[in-house]
Amino acid sequence: MRVLFAVFSYELRRFSTYRVATAAGVFTNSVFGVINAMVLLAVFDAKPEINGYVAEDAVLQVFVAQAMIGPVAIFGPPLDLADRIRTGEIAVDLLRPVHPLLWWLAHDLGRAAFSLAFRSAPTFTVGLLVFALPPPAAPEQWAGFAAAILLATLVGFGLRYLYAISGFWLMDTRGVHATAWLLGTFASGMVLPLVLFPDAMAQVLRLLPFAALVQVPAEILMDKATLPGGTIAGGLAYQAAWAAALIAIGTLLTARATRKVVVQGG
């Protein structure tokens, strides 16, 4: 497993060479967060409490969402794997004595770790300062949130891995990715907290894996009763179940793909 740790740290270092992109990311996430928060404040002006959320909760969730964009990569980038399948570069990946899913997981965790430290943390801090939000006090909320970020990252990876390996069958995954980004944006609670959706719709969205990316981590930080099972532990269990399921499906499909795989190009 030393190799996976090495891959993780190389990716961490690789992303640290993209300084301008990182600064731009913090800037856009912060600006978009402020706009999004102001829109939601207007909504809560009309109605002070919606399904257990008050204005501060909604704003806090907006900045949780902006902070999560990097680690879970809701809007991409797709895993490099997608492109490598399309171009046939996957051939050299398959020559390595490491399971492709673990290889790409180590990659993605390296990227996510960098993103968390240099994109998420600054963006989240900007949000707390601009809106003078009192950060949650209870240590179990913070501990739960930390675990939730890790699990959300695993779910984000699990989803993006599936999008990427669909390329073994589809040859062009742009459609899959575009649909997924759109679905992920709304179904994760990224732009609008799921509590603002009509009840029936919210119920359905809370069953999908996307809710594990933003909605559930935000509710864990705020220790909301709307969490699965009504507790932080319930929220974490829901995320863990999706992470495990997605990774299991990914492993299964990888085995099928590599058995029948057609590596493109000479």
Partner: protein, 336 residues
Amino acid sequence: MPDLPAAAAHPAPADPIVDVRGLGRSFTVSEGPFLRRTRRTVHAVADVGFTVPRGAIVGYLGPNGAGKSTTMKMLTGILSPSSGTVRVAGLEPARQRTRLAARIGVVFGQRTTLWWDLPLRDSLALTRHLYHVPATDHARRLAELTELLELGPFLRTPVRQLSLGQRMRGDLTAALLHDPELLVLDEPTIGLDVVSKSTIREFLLKLNAERGTTILLTTHDLGDVERLCRRVMVIDHGRLAFDGDIAALRDSAPAPRTLVVDLAAPTAPITVAGARCVAVEGPRQWLELDANPAAVIAAVAAEHEVADLTLREPDIEEVVADLYRRPAGERGRITA
């Protein structure tokens, strides 16, 4: 020494490192506009069989689309055969890909295993963990390869800033740091200049001579073949058209030998029996031979004042080109 039965005194040669029998791979390709799409089966490799003994350097040649890369992919386990069997280092590549990976080194000249954005040495360091090479062995081999392939000046350069030749040397190093028994190279000198090509060729010869590494390579560069391979296989339309040593390949070719004649003074094109003048340049004439050279040389010397004579064997390049050009039916399979 006690008496031994003859068989034990001369043990049978070790198993071949590559053993391919009746190997075939077809692809289904869809063509045409969306609604009138038709399906067609391409037989990229059809019924190929050969073995490679340990320690050999074998060239695998063929025109574009002949099935060379497809064969290499099946040998390395990244593509499963449609028919036939493959054994490499005693393993079945498609099913034991991961185990095989530790025993072989592979370079696809058009692709890289190196980390695009990181210094070359980081990618090389990774192979130690990838193949569980003890740190001291890794350091020793890296130092050796760095010297032989002259990697020193760019070990710290990000791979994206390397020239093609530098990158190729980096990829070769990455493929060799775990000291594989077999090195599979798919066009290792593609796009390289003369100097880089020769660095790589000399390196491969040395690797083969000193470590006994078996090398199987595809190439369009017949300079590679002439310098490196005693044996070549030629594949065309997915079938072996030739398997034997280079001399036999030359003999098999009807490509004519050429006699270059330097005369004392320019004259009209020479006419002698058994030869045809194909070019004249001042006092120098080129005669294509279709008979015994000795008779032609004697006849030329009898009629003209000759300053110098050279007999040119057909270039391996011409021989191979000729082999590709022959209609498939007529060609059959030539085995030497």
